[in-house]
């Protein structure tokens, strides 16, 4: 026994313990079920194995751009008015696809400098070009546009996370997905029917409090007639509920101010409650700044009406009897108790910056997950056992090396997964099986080479030495190319395929260590016990 051998054995045992800890932690009991529970805590199973719902949704980022562009339009109109610059009109020629593109027409050439100054000072995130025919093209700077879109996605992720957390789904995954497609991946373990979760995630819940300028009207035409044929430019006509005492029969329309006094961003809290008639409602409180604005608004409009607008639908119209600082209530319609709970939760979680749509939905029932885990594990165990037995028969003494190396390989692989909190999926189990295959290959490469060297008349120590050094080059080449493929899979793949790439990469790294280093140490130990000239069992 020499010193190098001792430290190498120590190293191997240390690594073994380290990765066993990664798999089991410190188990509470060492019985079979205790160990199994410990594994369950450290190795996370993918949705395909434990059941649950997998959703991919897309943020309609153009909604967010549209809001910004609308806002810019208002700002520009106001500034042009203040600077007494005449213009024919401002339009948004393609709101669906290029919402940030505005066209300003009919500005006199003499106002050119003023216009450019306004743009630079008030709308620095927009570019303005043109000027010929007194017509200008305004669009958002590409970097600002990209920023705005990615901010919309981040904000949507935060909002969705808040809502899912409030629903009490355990261990959800919510993250950006795909390559620059504004997509979000949501995984909900244990959720078997995603319908309600989807509704709640999707709800924009845009709350606004506006001044009510008239209504209810039975139809849009009636509203127009009442205002002399045209809707004022600072007003909007919105549909809403019928209010008690003012039944218009069927639909009701309200004329409200375009500008909101406060909106969802100004909320501090929202809670389910009951209105004066005992019907379920949602009461909310406003933040300090929002409360101040609301106070200013209500003080200025005592005697007027305000409208509570949710998702462009008037929920309630009420008379302002006195200045209100920070409280309000949403009622009206026929809200159920569940709806009032959901709505207050959605309001608390913040508004979505843009609409979302679902692109993909997968649900794995828990029984299917259990079946596939059983089948996959059974196949892995069968395959593994067959390989272990074959190696023992074919290589006799050296077969032990291979078997030890393979088992250690599996322990390291699972330990890696425990430490990195990687998720074991069904294709991941297949990755484990493939790792076993690659592990066998490395051992076979080395052993065949040693046999060859022995046949050429080398002594056992020098045959082992030559075998390892020749096979090493090949093993590095094969492992590097496979890891390259796995890395590419990881980058371009999604969900289950990523799981496969993860286990394969970890497995191959472990294999480099076990098949080459560990197996060599066992060979050296065998050789050190032998007399010169004894045959090697291979």
């Amino acid at each position: 026994m020499n010193k190098t051998f001792l430290w190498k054995t120590g190293l191997i045992l240390g690594i073994l313990l380290f990765f066993l800890f990664g798999i089991f932690g410190i188990p509470k009991s060492f019985s079979g079920s205790g160990l199994l529970a410990a594994v369950g805590e450290h190795i996370q199973l993918g949705l395909d194995l434990k059941g649950g719902t997998h959703l991919i949704l897309q943020v309609k980022v153009n909604d967010a751009v549209n809001v910004d562009a609308q806002n810019a339009m208002e700002v520009l109109k106001e500034q042009l008015r203040n600077h007494k610059i005449d213009y024919a009109d401002i339009t948004q020629p393609d709101p669906a696809n290029n919402p940030d593109h505005l066209v300003l027409k009919g500005v006199q050439a003499s106002s050119r400098t003023d216009l450019l100054n306004i743009m630079q000072e008030r709308l620095p995130e927009y570019d303005i070009t043109g000027g010929s025919d007194n017509s200008w093209n305004i669009s958002m700077k590409p970097s600002n546009l990209a920023d705005l879109k990615s901010k919309a996605v981040t904000q949507a992720i935060d909002t969705i996370r808040n809502r899912i957390d409030a629903l009490g789904v355990s261990e959800p995954t919510i993250q950006e997905h795909g390559l620059g497609q504004y997509q979000i991946l949501v995984q909900l373990p244990g959720v078997d029917d995603p319908a309600r979760v989807k509704d709640i995630m999707q709800s924009t819940a845009m709350l606004e409090i506006k001044q009510s300028l008239g209504g209810p009207y039975p139809s849009e035409q009636a509203a127009m007639q009442d205002k002399g044929g045209v809707i004022p430019s600072d007003a909007l006509l919105l549909p809403g509920h019928n209010m008690p005492g003012a039944d218009t029969g069927g639909q009701a329309w309200y004329l409200v101010s375009r500008v909101s006094a406060v909106n969802g961003k100004d909320l501090r809290d929202a809670q389910p409650s009951r209105d004066q008639n005992g019907q379920p409602s949602v009461s909310f409180t406003l933040s300090g700044e929002g409360g101040q604005r609301f106070y200013n608004f209500t003080s200025a409009h005592v005697g007027d009406s305000l409208a509570v607008v949710l998702d462009n639908h008037v929920q309630e119209v009420a008379n302002i009897k006195e200045p209100i600082r920070d409280r309000g209530e949403i009622s009206g319609g026929s809200m159920s108790e569940q709806q009032s709970k959901d709505l207050s939760m959605i309001l608390r979680s913040g508004a979505l910056p843009a609409g979302i749509k679902y692109l993909e939905e997968r649900t794995v029932g828990p029984s299917l997950g259990a079946d596939s885990i059983r089948a996959g594990v059974r196949a892995a165990v069968f395959g593994m056992l067959a390989v272990l037995i074959f190696m023992l028969i074919y290589y006799r003494g050296a077969g032990i090396n291979a078997d030890v190396a393979l088992i250690l390989n599996l322990i390291i692989l699972l330990g890696f997964m425990g430490y990195f909190e990687a998720v074991l999926t069904l294709p991941g189990i297949a990755g484990v099986i493939l790792t076993v295959g690659m592990g066998v290959d490395s051992n076979v490469l080395i052993f065949e080479r040693i046999r060859e060297e022995l046949r050429n008349g080398k002594t056992p120590p020098s045959a082992v030495d030559q075998g390892f050094s020749h096979a090493w080059i090949t093993i590095v080449d094969t492992h590097v190319t496979t890891i390259v493929s796995a890395a590419i899979l990881f980058i371009f793949g999604t969900g289950p395929v990523r799981g496969f790439a993860t286990t394969l990469t970890f497995g191959l790294l472990a294999n480099l260590f076990t098949a080459v280093f560990v197996s060599r140490v066992i060979f050296d130990w065998n050789l050190s016990r032998k007399q010169r000239g004894d045959a090697l069992s291979i």
Partner: protein, 393 residues
């Protein structure tokens, strides 16, 4: 024990047989892809709705089909799925029935169409979610609980579902089965029949992929394959010579073509996991090719006087024992996966089973002959023979 010892087979002499063999399979696959079954993209790539339904009895395909027709789902494909005794049916809706405006409409229609015995006002317990059951129990409150009702009934609903899904395999045939199920309160169980009925099926699994994701995944899969081939070419060009990289990439292309061809011929769906398997077989086939190339590189230095074809033949023979052993053992594990891995892994393991056979064959029959053919071509053109890599080591 030793199977192969000092073999001396003239592999290169048989290159015309190899060529004929490869051509037959590639052309058959390509013809099938073009004119027969085309490329059978799975739902991941083509988009669409798959609903896996488990029945409590042997399903009647015609009855299921009739139900789909009544629901207006005319293009629904219905097939038995998995082992016969599992009573499972896979309903497959085309992407045209799958709109991103209402992604799960197809699924809802299928469930409604199959719930033919639904009494008015009752919910199907076999397809109810835990939230529905909990809400029902809360409203009924059979256990008369106080402030912790929410928690208690969540646990009750979960216990009922666990029994349905994990013990009964997803379908209950009678509500009485829940009597004595672990964790289910008798009072809660007794109240269920007022609000629930049992259909003869349960939805086990749903996959809905909108058209946009499908197109995007096709692009991703193509990119992943191209990049991994490029990565391989660069690495081999760097470690050996460019011709070795090219030979390896041609070989891998050959393997992929034949495997995808086999999927087309057998009309097995190519899902996302199958793509993973194909990328794996690219890695595996390449592994085999490199082992042979490595030996050629080594032997070229030792056998400077001999013809390249002799060197290549010798190298293949020297590594033959390893090639067959590894291929055999890996094949064994993959075969275990194919036979015992269950329906979900079927396509994946099929790709690997074919891939390992073809990958092993091609490293001997395709990759090595390309090297020799290239060398012969250079000599014929009167250029200095290359293919003498000596960079490594």
């Amino acid at each position: 024990m030793e199977f192969f010892r000092n073999t001396n087979i003239d592999f290169l002499g048989k290159k015309w047989y190899f060529l004929a063999f490869s051509l037959i399979f590639s052309v058959a696959g390509v013809l099938s892809m073009l004119f027969w079954h085309h490329i059978p993209w799975g739902v991941d790539f083509r988009g669409g709705t798959l609903v896996y339904v488990k029945f409590s009895h042997t399903p009647n395909d015609n009855a299921v089909r009739a139900a789909m027709d009544r629901a207006g789902l005319r293009d629904a494909k219905i097939q038995r799925y998995g082992a016969v005794q599992n009573n499972e049916v896979l309903v497959d809706l085309d992407v045209r029935e799958t709109s991103e405006q209402a992604l799960d409409l197809g699924k809802t229609k299928i469930i409604q169409a199959l719930e033919s015995n639904a009494p008015a006002g009752k919910t199907d317990l076999n397809n109810a979610s835990s939230l529905t059951i909990k809400k029902y129990l809360m409203d009924k409150d059979p256990m008369h609980l106080g402030s912790d009702a929410d928690q208690k009934y969540t646990a009750q609903a979960q216990a009922i579902l666990d029994y349905r899904d994990k013990v009964q395999g997803g379908v209950l045939s009678s509500i009485d089965q829940l009597k004595g199920a672990p964790g289910v309160d008798p009072a809660a169980e007794a109240s269920l029949s007022d609000g629930f009925f049992l259909s003869d099926f349960g939805v086990r699994n749903v996959e809905i992929v909108g058209p946009q994701v499908g197109a995007q995944l096709q692009k991703q899969a193509a990119l992943a394959t191209i990049y991994s081939l490029a990565g391989m070419l660069v690495y081999l060009g760097f470690r050996f010579e460019w011709i070795y990289g090219i030979a390896a990439v041609v070989t891998v292309f050959h393997d992929t073509l034949i495997t995808v061809g086999a999927f087309s011929l057998t009309k097995t769906d190519i899902s996302l996991t199958v793509i993973a398997a194909i990328l794996t077989l690219i890695g595996y086939s390449n592994n085999d090719t490199i082992v042979v190339f490595d030996r050629i590189r080594e032997n070229i230095k030792l056998m400077r006087r001999e013809k390249l074809s002799d060197v290549v033949n010798r190298s293949i023979n020297q590594t033959l024992s390893r090639t067959i052993l590894t291929a055999g053992l890996t094949f064994l594990t993959v075969l275990a996966l194919f036979l015992f891995g269950g329906e979900v892994l079927r396509g994946f393991s099929l790709a690997l089973v074919i891939g390992i056979l073809i990958g092993t064959y091609s490293s001997i029959a395709i990759a090595a002959p390309i090297l020799v053919a290239y060398q012969d071509w250079r000599i014929e053109k009167g250029k200095r023979p290359v293919a003498m890599p000596g960079k490594a080591r």
